[in-house]
């Protein structure tokens, strides 16, 4: 029998933490089936909130943008992170300083990142203005105000912020590849490029998958960066689901629809995380049986 102080110290924080996850998820899901507007209300409207959210132009564009942003950001960040990791893996001098330089964007908030990139990318005051002033008067770099290209400004800023994180995880992965495997390949006469492609990258791919999943769940939750960089514009060109939820809940006072949009976000997230969890489980079983 445990003593009371131990029971309290173990259970009270754990129950609060686990409890808020369960109760809040259940509550917001319940709200998504009610006619709530400015205040939470009871009542049952079935799937009406979902059908009306899915029918709005706002949500459709936001979801298309998420697909584009998610794919671009996740693939390019992983690629850049991998290139940085391979470069730093070449036993170069000043590795610690260089690693800090690639990692520092991760320390600052998306609000800061978004604000600073909005200056650099603003054609009136940023890079385009600088180039024009320097004499290259036909230079144009106006993605920020171009409806078709604006989403790529979000991708660019997000890559700058997150690629150091991908690099750190991949670098650790590169260094945990068995030395014997590499030696054997060297003895067989394989050059460095061949060793990376044929020996190291195949051993690295479980970590690559983890990095992809971590980045993808960042992408689905992205909110602050867009708020600070483009505010969702021009028009709806950089609208994302997290902004749509905020819009419904706090700008339009439609808690029921906002909750439905939040649940749709959660379902998108589960669409990524559940296959990943299943894959992890299978891997662990295989490792245990081997």
């Amino acid at each position: 029998m445990r003593r009371l102080p131990e029971v309290l110290v173990i259970w009270v924080p754990l129950l609060l933490s686990a409890g808020h996850v369960v109760v809040f998820t259940a509550w917001t899901t319940w709200m998504s089936f009610t006619p709530s507007t400015l205040m939470p209300a009871s009542g049952w409207v079935g799937l009406r909130n979902y059908t009306s959210v899915l029918a709005t132009r706002n949500w459709k564009i936001a979801f298309d943008n998420l697909l584009l942003f998610g794919a671009g950001f996740v693939v390019l960040t992983t690629l850049v992170g991998l290139i940085l990791a391979i470069l730093l893996d070449q036993r170069i001098r000043g590795e610690n300083v260089l690693r800090s330089i690639f990692l520092y964007p991760m320390a600052v908030s998306f609000v800061v990142t978004g604000t600073v990139w909005s200056w650099l990318l603003n054609p009136g005051i940023g890079i385009q203005k600088l180039m024009n002033d320097l004499g290259w008067t036909t230079f144009r770099f106006d993605w920020l105000i171009d409806r078709d290209m604006a989403i790529w400004t979000i991708v660019l800023a997000a890559i700058w912020q997150a690629s150091g994180f991908a690099m750190a995880l991949l670098l650790a992965g590169l260094r945990s590849v068995e030395g014997d495997l590499i030696k054997a390949a060297q003895i067989d006469g394989a050059g460095p490029a061949r060793i990376y492609l044929r020996v190291i990258l195949p051993a690295l791919w479980p970590i690559v998958i983890s990095v992809l999943v971590i980045l993808l769940q960042f992408a689905i939750k992205t909110f602050d960066l867009v708020r600070a960089l483009t505010g969702g514009g021009p028009g709806l060109a950089t609208q994302l689901p997290a902004l749509v939820v905020y819009d419904f809940m706090f700008q339009r006072g439609q808690i029921g629809r906002g909750s439905a949009a939040a649940v749709l976000m959660l379902l998108t997230l589960l669409g990524v995380l559940l296959p990943y969890a299943a894959w992890k489980y299978v891997q662990r079983r295989r490792a245990a049986n081997a």
Partner: protein
Amino acid sequence: MREVPFTWTRGLVYIVVVLLAAAYLVPLVVVVLNSLRSAQEIAQTSMIGWPKTWAFGNYAEAWGSFCIAQTCTGIQPFMLNSMIITLPATVLSTLLGAVAGYAISLWRFRGDGWIFGLVTLGVFLPEQMRLIPWTIVLRDVGLSNTLAGLVMIHTIQGMSFTTLFCRNYYLSIPQELMKAARIDGAGFFRIFWRIVLPLSPPILIVTVIWQFTGIWNEFLYGVTLTTGTQQPITAALIALSAAIADAPQHGVQSAAVMVAALPTLLVYVFGGRYFVRGLTAGAVK
């Protein structure tokens, strides 16, 4: 480390890596330089340039007298708010997570797997699913629009991360050590204090850095659950951008951005090495 002989390929690696590093530094350099340029100077040229006259006054103005949403107190009160939120929430969530991780990994009790699973689900649950519930909870416990309310939220939510990190790390502490301590008559708290805590610095550094940067940089709760003088610095920066849209003050704004980013940048500069080491040693599995 063995000295590697110079080759043209290695020379190319150095050139590429230094160019990339320079590119990553551009936003930081731009903010630092602009924070020292006057508004007129920036308006005449662009956001990218070397200061002709050093406008150190930008920092004093950003810190103490600039007007954000009708209050002309600069960012100083908002920086203080962020500190008052971040420090207690970081310490509390780390401490509670360490005890919880210790109980789950080394003591085992009925239902430990279930409760651990639910706690770590909190890592993935979008904040949008918890926004309105938190609003209601804050109202019911009488903490609406207070810093204490945000401390409570970040402590409870932060436990998802800290419990996960600590539990994974404590799994590597041998059970024999626990058995020996228990035979000697040591109890739950005594073992934690004498054995587990002294082994914990590597993971505690990771959790403290993670929590500090995460809570300091948090924006959504700050902007929806607090208003006016109770807002954290991230919300104040957005309010400042909105205020500045009419009359550009990019020098002062750059100084504000720089000051707002400084605490987490310093944490990374001084703790980054331990962070990467700890992160890759066990926190991410």
